[in-house]
Symmetry: D2
Subunit: 329 residues, 4 copies
Amino acid sequence: MLSIAVIGAGRIGQIHARNVVANPRARLAGIADLDADAAARLAQACGTQVISLQVAFEADAVMICSSTSTHAGLIERAAAAGRPVFCEKPIDLSAPRVRMCLMAVRRARIPLMVGFNRRFDPHFAALKRRLSAGEIGRLELLTIVSRDPAPPPPAYVASSGGLFRDMMIHDLDMARFLLGEEPVEVFAAASVLVDPAIGAAGDVDTAVVTLRTAGGALCQISNSRRASYGYDQRIEAHGAGGLLRAGNVTATTVELATGAGFTTDPALPFFLERYAAAYRAELDGFIDALAAGTPPHPGGEDGLRALLLADAATLSASTHEPVTPAGEI
Amino acid sequence: MLSIAVIGAGRIGQIHARNVVANPRARLAGIADLDADAAARLAQACGTQVISLQVAFEADAVMICSSTSTHAGLIERAAAAGRPVFCEKPIDLSAPRVRMCLMAVRRARIPLMVGFNRRFDPHFAALKRRLSAGEIGRLELLTIVSRDPAPPPPAYVASSGGLFRDMMIHDLDMARFLLGEEPVEVFAAASVLVDPAIGAAGDVDTAVVTLRTAGGALCQISNSRRASYGYDQRIEAHGAGGLLRAGNVTATTVELATGAGFTTDPALPFFLERYAAAYRAELDGFIDALAAGTPPHPGGEDGLRALLLADAATLSASTHEPVTPAGEI
Amino acid sequence: MLSIAVIGAGRIGQIHARNVVANPRARLAGIADLDADAAARLAQACGTQVISLQVAFEADAVMICSSTSTHAGLIERAAAAGRPVFCEKPIDLSAPRVRMCLMAVRRARIPLMVGFNRRFDPHFAALKRRLSAGEIGRLELLTIVSRDPAPPPPAYVASSGGLFRDMMIHDLDMARFLLGEEPVEVFAAASVLVDPAIGAAGDVDTAVVTLRTAGGALCQISNSRRASYGYDQRIEAHGAGGLLRAGNVTATTVELATGAGFTTDPALPFFLERYAAAYRAELDGFIDALAAGTPPHPGGEDGLRALLLADAATLSASTHEPVTPAGEI
Amino acid sequence: MLSIAVIGAGRIGQIHARNVVANPRARLAGIADLDADAAARLAQACGTQVISLQVAFEADAVMICSSTSTHAGLIERAAAAGRPVFCEKPIDLSAPRVRMCLMAVRRARIPLMVGFNRRFDPHFAALKRRLSAGEIGRLELLTIVSRDPAPPPPAYVASSGGLFRDMMIHDLDMARFLLGEEPVEVFAAASVLVDPAIGAAGDVDTAVVTLRTAGGALCQISNSRRASYGYDQRIEAHGAGGLLRAGNVTATTVELATGAGFTTDPALPFFLERYAAAYRAELDGFIDALAAGTPPHPGGEDGLRALLLADAATLSASTHEPVTPAGEI
């Protein structure tokens, strides 16, 4: 029974804390958060206690769910304490800072897992498994669609690192995961079409990216900060022998037919619903790795590489030039 | 180049006449109809002439598209003239009358084809072909759904022979076509739910039928005189090794996604649209058989057997008892 | 926190026991089973204790998951102990025995819920909700398809009460649930097509039923003891204003396209997977009713009425006559 | 009755000639082709005569279906003869040559239509109509997928002008058609993944393009010279208010369910099947415009603009830089 402390009692911390409680192989050691009220509410809901950061790092493992700017420091503290750590993405918005943090992780030889939850989505995971099993031969064209139901509040945008680092980073990780080789060219085109306030904050809300790998495989990513029909999350892989795709998930299979046509449910509203199973499987993956003594996946390098791709996309969108992502990590 | 005369310039006569014109192996000999205006309009639209019945029976073949009460007499006249004949369903609403007519056909040894157009629908024909090819093994359960978009005018109902002989006869023929053996038990349940005027005319507008074959295969048919979402035409065959089904056809593949969900087109409006290709293929089947000198399918016996099933269903619906359809033909 | 004792450590008892453990409003009081080993295994897996029947009836509520023949007696014992009770379907295979049992329940005024889990399936529940909300107007035609992936062992068949009481009873309850009025005529046709051993045991493995209500609504049910493509569970409701349907559920949305076409997942394998969410919602419904002090649904009368319909169908299948189900309860 | 001469008896000439024969408003004046045998075969199949180019330009209108290198010259000859002309895409592979040709057309004031058949596909045309009707508000993201079933022969590749001018030009026209404004930036990434012989001929077989308009709308196009599952032709438009998409077309609606899952038909094999209705509607559009005396659409400028986009994409793919397409026409 692995004792796990959760740091951060916000939206994503609540998901992980509840999953720890429900997981038969784990025990929730407590909740730590600077906001004492938030910590207390979540602790009570989970039947556990509020703990200090110091006590948190005495648990068998730590899950970092606090705000982005605290991630790298907390990972380093876990390294110092010799504790395995799961950290929500991103490790940091600055690649140099991430590199520094990963050095501490390597020196301390602690297991580090980064929260790219979509790898654990049952639909995308099945697609990956079948791709790896060779069902469509060599992958040639990859298409990833990811559209949020609604734009985030402007205040969030300002500190988010921008659409590419905040939102598309998930798709960039998924591209790496599925392509099986590193992109060598990143081209981005982006616009402000959803909310002028996002543009005023220096960010974009609609973006497409093209990735090319050394082997010639091509990938197209499409992001928007709005989708009237729910959280739009789709992947399509075209290979020499066929096509594999994973579509949106709906709440029910119910269909209504009238003179207007046949209508099914919209896509699930947002990540809490769409990725509920993914978060549970992600926790299982973390526990599996710790139990087996093998490095958890995705790890720190994955976190860094996705960030470097997001950096390249950010640069490309502003320069209107394709960018070669930094290769050394 | 087969010369074909079309008798009857109504809705179905128009379909067949135009298909004869467009068929590269046939020539439209002319249009005969008691209603001289209707005949003239259709003849002009098809670039042909109005002809008398007598001249019609001088063509290489005759298509009977006139009102039901005239079918048997015209078939007999074709027999007397030694002309191959295609007749719209049903041959007659009275089984004894049909038997008499078929005797004339047999004596004259003329080819007779009956217009069960759905056998030629590309979707249902493909289902039949794959069923016969053994894709799902032995057929165990057959489901046929057939719902009209809107009820016919009460005046039509009165002379239609009732829902089972007018509408479900198509599904009963399809059941025979797919089951590959004769039903030995027919049970019908019917209601007046759509239009009280239909009930006042002594008919029903909503009906379900169960068929059982000697081999134990079961078939369920569902009919309604209304469907807000178009002309609902579906078949599902469940066998020892799997399921084959053919669904509704839509005008386009366009799908709209909004907060209300994902909406595709309704089903095609009615038989003119849904079975346009079937009518063309039916004509090809008729010409093929004449060219090959083989009996056309479905033939007179198929017309009679479907009527006997419709008679059995009509009786069952009124007696609330299962009925064994007449076997001798 | 409601303490719930689970009686019966078999397949269905395991589902309910685990759901009680996971339910934040309930506490698992213990497991009772004549098979001490089975009880011990389940108790350990759930972190609870093996208890005697006597102790079980001291819990706040009891869930009866033992073999069918014990249900009625255990419900009566719950009545005697004044305990709210959830009982798996059926209450008993004999209607007189069920009536006697329900009398005891009424006299003791204990809440009784019967395990028709499909009412709680999110897909079917949404269909019911939208039907009740009037989305398609008055219900005219109802179609229920229910096909097991594979036949049960012959030994099970012998004591099952037959396909209608064992398997179709779920569909008969669903028909009552959706029709909103009682069927007044039941006609069944059944065959042995899957396994001769089932026929040798006096049962059937393939069956269709037609129901008619006093209001004229019609319902078709189709059952088979095999379906190569998974557990086939579908409902289609056709009303004056349109059609509502709920389809099969698949493990993933992944689709493979090759020269053979576009292939999606088969249906989920069987009830454990398909109705996992339904069993959780069913438990919530039970707890809700106890908390509110209102009668739980479906209740004892629902259990009896579904059995009376199954009795009518069984009789109809053997006599080849439609049967009016017993009305008084 | 418009007399139309068809120049070119190859694959596409055969389609247009047969459609002219079947069109009630047109008459096939004859077939002209340098290959006398090909001309004779097609003329016979269409019940018309072989004619010289000179005679062809005496018809009411001319359809140019000969090889690409002859298009511009033949259009100019039509201009000299004052004949309305339909020309298969592209007008020429060289933009300066196209400009020169269009000057002749403008001077002669003859109607010129260019064969971008996909605009007339019922599915894409419906999508365009609904987009224009405002069903999803302002268009923000457009995705076009176009994959051929198999690569063309290497000999064809050499003279094709390359994938962007030969294949993607259709998608670039469709992008202009749907976006409703001109792309101002074109970025292409391309690979040789299907057939090394294509690479040896200096072309690519797999390519993606990003378009950006002045208004900020973004478009992604994906092309491959192979698709094991048929001719893959899809469009998806994402707007402020929702999503509209048009999918692949299949031969039938038949679906097979087995343990492997639910399998529908592959996409229609290639353009002859997929765009059969589009070619007919395209001819109707041409005749409509001539009858109304209005300029046919798409016209010469559309042909030039699509070529300029293809030129920009070709350049971008080789320089790895985004390209601003030439604006003046």
